[in-house]
Amino acid sequence: MVTASQQVKNKIEVKDLVISYGSNAILRHVTLDVRENEIFGIIGPANSGKTSFLNAINRMDMMRSNMTVTGSVSIDGINTREWRNVYALRRKIGVVFPLPVGLPLTVYDNVALAPRLAGTAGTKADLDELVERCLRRAALWDEVKDRLTHLGSLLSGGQQQRLTIARALSQSPEILMLDEFSIAVDPVTTMRIEDVLKELKAEMTIILVTNLVQQANRLADRTAFFLNGDCIEIGTTEQLFSGKAKDQRTNDYIGGKFG
């Protein structure tokens, strides 16, 4: 039962986030909230800190020796730095990368990997059911159902990207982060994935980093504009895309005057 108060509940709260590589700050003092079950778009030109922002949320900064993060990121009100088990945190967050990464495992094993690693695979029948469900939801099942034992890394680029989404869904994530997922995908596949995202929104919170301004317009409920490490503006997508952005730079970027 979804009530009005739950609809505005914040899933992720970011306070005064600063990300630097060595002494070079690439994202400065970002404060924003991502609401539950919304698609939160992040737009901005290259090098504006969008990917690093995603890395800070699932604490991938731990895996990068020169990346430091200050400020706080809270998920469900709990600071991610105080999560005792960072692996459990990452399992709640599915990630899709700019370039499709089909792991050199079979299509089936690609999707079954996350539950197996988490020890939640259950019986063979449970796992079969989960794999099929995730592949169907990623709009890939019909194309690979006869090739589940083929290598996932040898699928076409568009199929691999949907495989990556199926793999992210197999984590039963509460948050799905997509980092410029359509870079290496044809327009038809992009549209299919966009339709999938609109459905998934009912069950999870989605952060969509995109360099296609119109993609944010089509999908996002609210959108943030990052530029050179600063979060210039956050607003509802309607507001930003109807030329009513508060900052002129946002209007210029969305209007195609630079970037």
């Binding site: 945190l89 990452r90 990630v95 990464v101 792991l103 050199p104 495992l105 990997l113 890394s153």
Partner: protein, 289 residues
């Protein structure tokens, strides 16, 4: 329309000359290999027989077979592999997957590569000091094998490290992002894809150990032993040392005998290398990305 201009002809000429230059270099490189192999085969092949391989040397090593030396070489190679492979692969996994990218790691990498270039006689002296004297293993298969292991360790580490690094980083990133620990990532994604490279690297490096003389000369290999070793604490004969002995130290050896020994030694190394190449071709044939 599509007429070649003078500059096209000129470029084609230069291309031809460079092709011939590089091709000629390759021929020059192959000549010594062919001569060595041909000499070994022509002058050594009539000493090769089942009795040569499976009997003891007789008449003060001027006749008979090479079985104790062959058997000893296999001992040395196997025991040194048991020591160097787990240690080397584990070190390579640490350096490639766990170690932070900092000065210390780079220094260790550099030291490892340098260690691979240390002359084998230096390893031999280290072996005498460490294993024969300090650990009191005496001159034994154990001491000789460990000396060989120390010598092959750097190259095992470097070749395993390279195989691990050849697995694309995005695979690791994808795994970490889905909540896998480093070890889960290594076990499920990195090692299965680096395995072939690690294995062939190990075989190639270990086959070098089979031909080494200096590291085993002072640590466990004997010129002549009338019996086979029973344990790793016995001394043993070894092919490489046997070749040195029959070629230079023993008078009145028939000419074909050292060539026969050399042929067997080269044959062992070639068989191991062929196996490595075969594994690489067959497992790598199923390209995974």
């Amino acid at each position: 329309m599509f007429q070649a201009s003078p500059i096209n002809h000129h470029n084609a000429q230069i291309q031809k000359r460079f092709k011939m230059l590089f091709g000629g270099m390759m021929v020059i490189l192959i000549i010594p290999v062919v001569i060595i192999l041909a000499t070994l085969i022509f002058r050594g092949w009539h000493s090769i027989s089942w009795t040569f391989i499976f009997t003891d040397p007789t008449n003060g090593m001027t006749a008979g077979g090479i079985f104790p030396a062959l058997f000893g070489t296999i001992w040395l190679v196997v025991v040194s592999m048991l020591a160097s492979v787990p240690l080397g692969v584990a070190a390579a996994i640490y350096l490639s997957e766990y170690a932070p990218d900092n000065m210390l790691t780079r220094l260790i990498n550099l030291a490892t590569i340098n260690l691979a270039g240390v002359p084998s006689i230096v390893h031999a002296l280290f072996g005498v000091g460490a294993f024969v004297t300090f650990f009191k293993f005496g001159t034994s298969i154990l001491a000789a094998s460990l000396t060989l292991a120390i010598m092959t360790l750097p190259v095992v580490i470097v070749s395993s490290w390279e195989s691990l690094q050849s697995v694309p980083r995005p695979f690791r990133e994808a795994c970490w992002n889905m909540g896998a620990t480093r070890w889960q990532t290594i076990w499920n994604v990195v090692l299965p894809n680096a395995f072939t490279g690690i294995l062939t690297g190990i075989i190639l490096q270990v086959s070098r150990a089979a031909g080494e003389t200096a590291p085993i000369m002072f640590t466990g290999a004997a010129m002549f032993l009338p019996f086979l070793p029973n344990s790793v604490f016995d001394q043993t004969m070894a092919l490489a040392l046997h070749l040195f002995v029959v070629a230079t130290q023993v008078p009145d050896v028939p000419e074909s005998l050292p060539f026969g020994v050399a042929l067997v030694l080269v044959g062992i190394v070639m068989i191991m290398n062929t196996v490595a190449i075969w594994i690489r071709m067959h497992l790598r044939g199923k390209k995974k990305w």
